[in-house]
Amino acid sequence: MVSAQAITRRFGDRVAVEDVSFDVAGGEVFGLLGPNGAGKTTTLRMLGGLIAPSAGTIAIGGRPFTRANAGSLRARIGFLTETPGLWEHLTAEDNLRVYARLFGIAPPDPAVERALRLFELWDRRSDRVAVLSKGMKQKLALARALVHDPEVVLLDEPSANLDPQTARTVRDLLLELRRKGRAVVVSTHNLDEVERLADRVALVSRTLIAVGEPAALRRDVFGRRLRVRMAGAHPPLPQLAEIAARAGAQDVRIDGVALSMTLDAPDTATPAVIRALVEAGAEIREVFDEAPALEDVYLKLLGSPTASEADMSGTPGHPS
């Protein structure tokens, strides 16, 4: 549905995005992660046809963006921009009605009502945007991005300014969009959100650092680790660690009352290790595959956020 092939974007001498490629299929939620200034917004703008890549191609539904078809391709995209960008002097309903008509929806009112009700703004439809809270403005901006029921949805920080309940509503909505076969690209700093939502994530820092399913990224970065937590009385843990190593475990570490280890062939080696530990007198409470948080993957691949931000945001005023 969305295809970015070797896209690069330069602003003068500065390279904001370099040689980034990925595809997003219909029915997929794709997370774009990276520090400030990593090129996420620039990438989204290129995907949305707002700015052209300096090199590479963007295609929507197999059709590459050109000057001639940019308008018709943009009509297939719903774009939540970094800031809500609503007309403050107009009512919530008027804001959406203008966009519905610009997207060619006739008559616009049923679509506007559907979008307002979806975000529980119907009762506030006659209020001027200026009097709405930040969270309501963000919801209205989301409603605007979806008012024309687009095939492709690009969201720049969708949960910004939202209370937990509304953030949950947005997550549910994104899952609904996935169920309806829409291609959704979400740029965010909220790793927890991406962890819950995204089928695949791309870690970007000007270039594409890694792309894949969150679980696969964890495995690629940290390897697959088995964790065995003890209960009750058991032999000293250093002794159990040696027993586990003799049974085929590698890189055995002691963490509290648990052992953490890697196994060459986890499916066959796990029973042997557990059996050896039990025979040595260990009482085992639980055995499970370790799943490091996506945040750990992020920090390992991109370094500490503070350092990255300092490196990447040295040119204020440029898009990130």
């Binding site: 800031t83 002097h89 203008v98 898009p319």
Partner: protein
């Protein structure tokens, strides 16, 4: 260009103007001043000073010289001739008012989008840059033109009410038609297009509005020069000025489209 999208955006702009008196009130105030100031000069000031403008020597000389160029003056004498001459000259104010009005609205319209960061979402729609520019221009032009038309109607109505016999008829000339119907609109369009061009480089509506001075100053000089008898612009001269204004507008449209390159707007507007 898609007329529906342009119409939608014009409608939005007009609703915003209605909801934002800060942008519209200066325009209304100016047109009120332009409409009533000539009557203050012609009727109230003489009353307060006790000096009739019909007996002002220097004005008499100017009017005598102007009779050659203003056909309507030939049949009028005394106070009627003075009133006709002054009301003709003050028509120039109705060029200045729509220019300032259009500039004021255009500056709010463009810089307002910049300040509210509302342009990027707008550019995510199928709207093209020329459509955006046309809508912005028309939306700023129409209200100022409407207000001007109302002001002119009130002006002529007051002349009919309080003017000497024959004065109103003397205002209905080809020169007046060119002045208000051709030069006025093109001068407004030129000014607002210049404002739109400047607006893409500034962050404050007042900065964008300053461009109107470049257009208004020559008009003020025209007004002062004509009332002082330094020169008189005939219908032909006004027509030539209209052509010049139209050409300047066309050039500015092209210039504005170049400046309104979407990427420039998105990446440089901060």
């Amino acid at each position: 260009m898609n007329a529906d999208r342009i119409a939608v955006l014009i409608g939005k702009e007009l609703r915003e103007f209605r909801a934002n008196p800060a942008a519209v009130i200066p325009v209304l105030l100016l047109i009120v001043v332009c409409t009533f100031m000539p009557f203050v000069v012609v009727y109230v000031v003489p009353l307060l000073t006790g000096q009739s403008i019909a007996t002002d020597r220097s004005l008499e000389q100017v009017i005598a010289a102007a009779r050659v160029n203003i056909p309507g003056l030939a049949d009028l004498h005394g106070a009627a001739a003075t009133e006709s001459f002054l009301f003709q000259q003050f028509l120039l104010l109705f060029l200045i008012a729509p220019i300032v009005g259009a500039v004021s609205l255009a500056a709010y319209s463009v810089v307002g989008e910049k300040q509210g960061r509302t342009l990027e979402p707008l550019l995510t729609t199928p709207l093209t840059t020329p459509e955006l520019l046309v809508a912005k221009s028309v939306a700023s032009f129409l209200p100022s033109l409407t207000v001007e038309a109302i002001g002119i109607a009130v002006y002529f109505g007051l002349v009919a009410l309080v003017g000497e016999p024959g004065v109103l008829r003397s205002l209905f000339t080809l020169r007046t038609a060119i002045l208000l119907g051709v030069l006025g609109p093109f001068a407004s369009l030129t000014a607002l297009q210049a404002t739109i061009a400047v607006s893409s480089r500034v962050n404050d509506p007042r900065s964008a509005q300053q461009v109107s001075v470049l257009i208004v100053m020559p008009l003020v000089l025209m007004l002062v020069g004509e009332i002082g008898g330094a020169f008189f612009l005939t219908s032909t001269a006004l027509l030539l000025l209209s052509v010049a204004a139209a050409a300047a507008w066309a050039l500015l449209v092209m210039f504005s489209v170049a400046l309104f390159e979407r990427e420039t707007i998105l990446t440089r507007w901060k």
